[in-house]
């Protein structure tokens, strides 16, 4: 029964991921990771003996431990890489914010210079008309 449950979970997960990619709500590397998770759930639910076989090779007496340890460590690794990605994003945001402030000031100066340069010809025109 459990195998069927896991198979269903894996199937729903993979369909959801494909749906999210289709809707543009998840992109590239993230989608690949989650599809791999879904795929391994499906494979393990169809061939649960894989776990028993690997556990026996590694000398683990109670195979489900292997599954739990592996999944928890995968989650931890994923969280670590997420924080690394967040740090990169934070750095980019900070530098963009700084650059934007500098460029905005330069743009304002340029605009005020252009308006200043444009005023004299207009006044000249007016005086010619007058």
């Amino acid at each position: 029964m459990t195998n069927i449950t896991i198979l269903i979970i894996g199937a729903i997960l993979s369909i959801s991921i494909l749906y999210l990619v289709r809707k543009g709500k998840m992109h590239g590397p993230y989608a690949t990771w989650w599809l791999l998770v879904a795929l391994s759930a499906i494979v393990l639910s169809i061939f649960p003996q894989i776990i028993d076989w690997v556990a026996a090779k590694l000398g683990i007496t109670y195979p489900p431990t292997l599954l739990l340890v592996l999944s928890v460590s995968m989650i931890l690794i994923r969280m670590l890489t997420m924080d690394m990605a967040l740090t990169r994003k934070e750095r980019k945001i900070r530098r963009l914010t700084q650059k934007m402030a500098i460029l905005e000031d330069a743009l304002n100066n340029q605009e005020s210079m252009i308006t200043r340069n444009n005023t004299p010809p207009e006044s000249v025109k007016k005086s010619q008309v007058g």
Binding site: T87, E90, R91, I93, R94, R95, T97, Q98, K99, M100, A101, I102, E104, D105
Partner: protein, 226 residues
């Protein structure tokens, strides 16, 4: 030899109305105020004094604001940057003391220090950080500093953008780049208005201590980059 004075400011309109006229009168360097997403009329006050003002669209904190000025200095080819607080704690007249020490010594960074302002707890915290990092400077947190061209290059780097506070992390980065730091005692005024950004509440202090300790420990034994 162009010098830029960088003043990070968050809601410092009242203090800046007092500081800017005095600063303009005392020194003839270029001045730039970095408005760290203030909610009062800091930007307006700065513009009224005819001083350049950068307004950050997102709040980056004291160091993020200061780095904006340093990056601008790097872009425009300034040879020195002097940073000072907007709250009037650092006296404009003391800018000359920094410049004098800079010309006399051959150091890359000059820090204006006022050790007697420290409370017992702050001294203890700094002793701890000095023990962890082997930085031999009296006043770690003073924001009254002069950076030369090499220091400007180091501090405008991407790596420096990840720092959260301008004290220990900045000093470690500078020392690792092989730059030398000197300090000069200056007079400082008590904060005329507003609170210290770092030592404002116990929770903030705790966060600061934990983050800075992590940074110090992570930097133990790191080689010089240049």
């Amino acid at each position: 030899m162009k010098t830029l004075i960088v003043i990070p400011a968050f809601n410092e309109a009242t203090n800046l109305t007092r500081l800017l006229p005095e600063l303009i009168k005392t020194v003839n360097f270029d001045i730039v105020v970095i408005n760290d997403a203030s909610t009062d009329d800091t930007a307006q006050v700065v513009c009224e004094h005819g001083v350049k003002c950068f307004t950050l669209p997102l709040q980056l904190g004291a160091w993020g604001a200061t780095q904006t000025g340093i990056r601008y200095a790097a872009r425009k080819g300034y040879s020195q940057v002097i940073t000072m607080d907007a709250d009037g704690q650092h006296l404009p007249i003391e800018v000359n003391a920094l410049m004098k020490r800079y010309r006399e010594s051959s150091n890359n960074v000059i820090i204006g220090t006022f050790p007697s302002r420290l409370s017992y707890l702050k001294k203890l915290a700094w002793k701890f950080f000095k023990f962890l990092t082997h930085i031999k400077i009296e006043d770690l947190t003073s924001g009254f500093r002069l950076y030369d061209k090499q220091a400007i290059q180091v501090l405008s780097s991407k790596q420096a953008s990840m720092l959260d506070y301008q004290d220990v992390g900045v000093l470690l980065l500078l020392l690792r780049a092989g730059l030398t730091i000197n300090e000069v005692p200056v007079k400082m005024k008590d904060r005329s208005d507003g609170k210290s950004r770092v030592f404002s509440s116990w929770l903030v202090v705790l966060k600061y201590m934990v983050q800075t300790t992590t940074l110090c420990i992570a930097n133990i034994g790191k080689r010089r980059t240049q």
